[in-house]
């Protein structure tokens, strides 16, 4: 037992969807050091720069420590009573004048399951509207939609262990060594030691250097690639007919559709050499056990949800599902993007994705809460912003999300926020969004609350506080309960465990979940009443009516944006290892000195054409906005494409991203933005000496 620390608490990381288990070490009331927990099921004693070191933000002087209310053009400190009073006054007024649907709530995929569940209960029971959504809308909602449609449940079909058990893994539109570092490390080790890795990405990601084959498809052409792979699998007899016959439906329509997707045809669309398409298909099709993993490079597209269905097609036709080493593993970005959606923070579903249109389910909630509820869905985030601008949405309550930085088309978002009569922001720091707020409520970081996160393996793990929220800040759950009570609906929870107990009570597939049962190793849902959890899904049946999985025959359609003469390059946006999303937390740690700013990755061919050298400032313009940042000239990105991240408010990358979004789920098309890139240097000015700024 170390005598250096006052206390060590095991908890779960609040950064990404890997869900590392961590030991938070406290000295004099604050967390001074974090080390990985050796028995963490996902991380097994390892972690990354963010989980391990980026915790100083919790002690930052910038922390919100008291409620703030708007006065004139600024804010002043207020008591909790006053702040909540303002909220209830505003909400009640708006409800009376415009109805409860004029108010919307936004739950945070960073918050715990209990926070999110309580938030949706507040919106539904206390306010009376289904206008509740969470930020998975802008990342993995297509995954959720598609997997439910094809297989039945919204989640990875296996666990990270499947990467080690597989012979072949296909990674599409995901960069694990940056976005899910611990899983990226595991995949890298497996690849060095025999796992045959195929990476499909417009950029050559780090794992491509350890892979068997890299397929650099043009942004927005994923569907063509996947149909092309399916074509070769079928053509060359790699279909697992026994599996297809016994456990699926709709194969014939798919087989017919992909006949046209010959390798040559697909090469024409994607730019990937036909021979590589053949090779990739054979690697995958001939494997004993193969996994497919994907990320936002698949979902953040106009037809993202369709592409996920095509991914499911590939796994189904080869029978690569429902056993160790054969899994579909969407790498959910945020620590609780899985859980926030599982726990009903969505406008159209209850817990476990049961539709609000389902009378029986909605009745059960009505009974439990003693309220009356509609059976029509509420608004998604994009709909909320549109409604705000149009005038029918008057108020929003946002917790844990900085939409003004992370959502697409920043100009539109800001207009929406300005159009509201009333905005409540609940967060740990001031953000771009809170600049527009009427009331700001100081909340807790993941180090200061009790609850659960659900990682990308469907594993619920405990979050245990290692410190108290600073000043008079409160935990998110406490705040939500207070506001609900003030609005007339006392949720009656005494602890976050109570919240989870209610979830279990109301949700057959989560029936056996409780804080006690979760323990140190977590539980992967579904969890039966006796506590048995489910590491591998679909071993007996698919969770659709009839028990069969469904093929989806979907053709390739071009993305929402395309390069043209005015905007000749395609911008892809993504993540960097050292920072997390809006960078709110990581930029308040020493991670900032590791990566103080971002660059635009430009291929040398394009750099030459534009006349820009590494390190020089460039202006990037899209149809909706303009930004400036230095260029990094690298061969990692293919000619015709450029790449940058979105962690720095000074850069405000999302000013460039337009309104194009997934047809089924409205997930924004962050990954295909037509841009022009110009050197900032005025003509005649001498170029600066080249400084290599490597990403």
């Amino acid at each position: 037992m170390s005598t250096r620390f006052d206390q060590s608490t095991t908890t779960t990381c609040g950064y990404c969807g890997v869900g590392c288990r961590l030991e938070a070490h406290r000295v004099d009331g604050s967390v001074r050091s974090i080390s990985p927990a050796m028995d963490g099921p996902a991380n097994k004693g390892h972690t990354c720069v963010k989980g391990r070191f980026a915790h100083q933000f919790a002690r930052s002087r910038d922390r919100l420590t008291a409620p703030l209310v708007r006065e004139n053009d600024g804010f002043r400190l207020a008591s909790w009573d006053e702040a909540i009073g303002r909220i209830t006054e505003a909400f009640n007024k708006i409800k009376a004048e415009h109805g409860p649907d004029a108010i919307a709530g936004l739950a945070s995929s960073r918050g715990t399951n209990e926070d999110c569940y309580a938030m949706q209960r507040l919106m539904r029971a206390a306010v009376g509207t289904h206008n509740i959504d969470n930020c998975s809308r802008v990342c993995h909602s297509p995954t959720s939609f598609a997997m439910r449609s094809s297989l039945g449940l919204s989640g990875a079909t296996g666990s990270f262990d499947d990467f080690e058990a597989a012979d072949v893994a296909l990674l599409v539109g995901v960069n694990p060594t940056q976005g899910h570092p611990v899983v990226g490390a595991r995949i890298k080790q497996a690849a060095i030691n025999g796992l045959k890795l195929i990476t499909a990405d417009p950029r050559r990601i780090e794992l491509s250097d350890y892979g068997e084959l890299h397929l650099p498809m043009r942004p927005g052409t994923n569907a063509a690639l996947l149909n092309g792979l399916a074509h070769v699998v079928i053509r060359d007899g790699m279909v697992d007919s026994a599996f297809v016959d016994a456990r699926t439906e709709g194969f014939d329509a798919t087989a017919e559709l992909v006949e046209a997707y010959t390798p040559d045809a697909v090469e024409g669309i994607t730019g990937i050499p036909a021979a590589d398409i053949e090779r990739a298909a054979h690697l995958y099709g001939e494997a004993e056990n193969a996994c497919i993993s994907w990320g936002l490079g698949v979902t953040e597209h106009l037809y993202g949800s369709e592409v996920v269905q095509l991914i499911c097609n590939l796994a189904l036709m080869t029978g690569n599902i429902a056993r160790p080493g054969a899994a579909l593993l969407p790498l959910r970005g945020q620590n609780n993007v899985q859980g926030s959606s599982d726990h009903a923070a969505l406008p159209d579903t209850w817990t476990d994705y049961r539709p609000v249109t389902d009378d029986a389910v909605t009745s059960s909630f009505e009974e439990r809460w003693g309220v009356k509820l509609k059976r029509e869905r509420g608004m998604t985030i994009p709909e909320m912003f549109d409604a705000a601008v149009e005038g029918s949405l008057k108020a929003m309550y946002i917790f844990g999300e900085d939409v003004a930085q992370t959502d697409p088309d920043t100009a539109h978002v800001e207009k929406a926020l300005d159009s509201l009569d009333f905005l409540v922001c609940q967060d740990i720091f001031d953000t771009e969004t809170s600049k527009h707020a009427d009331v700001i409520l100081p909340a807790s970081s993941f180090l200061e609350k009790t609850g659960t996160f659900t990682n990308a393996e469907r594993r619920l793990q405990m979050v245990t506080p290692a410190a108290d929220p600073p000043g008079s800040a409160k935990t998110d759950l406490e705040i939500i309960c207070m506001v609900s009570k003030a609005l007339g609906h006392d949720m009656g929870y005494e602890s976050s465990a109570d919240v989870m107990d209610e979830v279990a009570e109301m949700t057959p597939r989560y029936a056996g979940i409780s804080h006690d049962r979760i323990g140190r190793t977590g539980l992967q849902w579904p969890v039966a009443k006796d506590g048995t959890d489910t590491p591998i899904l679909y071993t007996e049946r698919f969770e659709r009516e009839g028990g069969l999985a469904r093929f989806a025959a979907l053709p390739y359609k071009p993305p929402g944006d395309a390069a043209d003469d005015e905007f000749p390059l395609i911008l892809v946006t993504g993540r960097r290892l050292e920072h997390y999303n809006a960078g709110t937390m990581t930029r308040r740690t020493e991670n900032l000195s590791l990566l103080p700013s971002d660059t635009l990755e430009v291929n040398p061919v394009d750099a030459e054409r534009i006349g820009v050298k590494a390190g020089e400032e460039v202006t990037v313009r899209s149809r909706v906005g303009e930004i400036r940042l230095p260029a990094d000239v690298t061969e990692r990105i293919e000619p015709g494409h450029v790449f940058t991240a979105f962690h720095f408010p000074e850069v405000r990358t999302n000013l460039l991203v337009g309104q194009s979004a997934d047809v089924n789920t409205s997930c924004p098309e962050y990954k295909v933005v037509a841009v022009s890139v110009e050197s900032v240097r005025s003509p005649g000015e001498r170029p600066q000496p080249a400084e290599l700024v490597t990403a």
């Binding site: 250096r4 050091s33 890298k188 080790q189 020493e590």
Partner: protein
């Protein structure tokens, strides 16, 4: 197969090392270069055990068991060699190891006293360039754990052993510090280091850590 460790019988699989068998039997074997997440290395020689029928003690971390073997963790010779080895390690360090380090723990467990053999010690060399990780090269005992963690766990390959013989040490990149290497700041090296040669600045700065004040300049 069955193996006996200090009269405790355990059932183990083919390929199990004697150290794994000892741990399965709940018996203590001190180690310095061993980390269960990485392949055994065989450098420290502190994990020595006695084996019935073998004159010399064996390094348990890298020796596979055979069926029916009788292993003694408290073998006199084995313990004597292990103790002497730890003594040698203490003799090369310019300061006593901090109480919380694995090296200090092992030295306590083996009741290691003042080193019998004294001589030249490591020269102090501190690298504080990285915002989080602190490198105190003089505390490095060349156990290789950090290099192996960066290789086998993270896969960044940012660290290497350097030099030869007594002058062996460890460094990052082209001896350029963590920041100028392929390091991704995962901290696995600091987690595994048994002497705090690599650790966090924040931990070194902890107020009220009495051992720290007596540390090297």
């Amino acid at each position: 197969m069955k193996v006996t460790v200090d009269a405790v019988e355990v059932e183990v699989e083919e390929g199990t090392t004697m150290l794994e068998a000892a741990r399965a039997a709940g018996r203590y074997v001190p180690t310095l270069c061993f980390d269960e997440r990485m392949a055994p290395f065989g450098a420290c020689r502190v994990c020595m055990v006695g084996v019935e029928g073998n004159d010399a003690p064996l390094a348990s971390c890298t020796t596979p068991c055979s069926d029916g073997q009788q292993i003694h963790t408290d073998d006199e010779t084995a313990r004597r060699i292990a103790t002497a080895t730890v003594e040698l390690v203490l003799s090369e360090l310019p300061a006593e190891p901090e109480e919380h380090t694995e090296l200090a723990e092992v030295a306590r467990a083996l009741e290691v006293g003042e080193p019998r053999w004294q001589g030249v010690q490591h020269e102090p060399k501190h690298d504080a360039r990285h915002p989080y990780l602190a490198f105190q090269h003089e505390l490095c005992i060349s156990c290789g754990r950090c290099v192996r963690a960066c290789d086998e766990v993270q896969g960044a390959f940012a660290l290497t052993a350097t030099g030869r013989g007594f002058h062996s040490n460890v460094t990052a990149g082209l001896d350029s510090g963590f920041t100028d290497s392929t390091c991704v700041t995962c901290g696995a090296c600091a987690d595994t280091c048994p002497t705090d040669a690599i650790t966090e600045h924040l931990l070194l700065d902890l107020v009220g850590d009495p051992a720290k004040d007596g540390g090297p300049q």
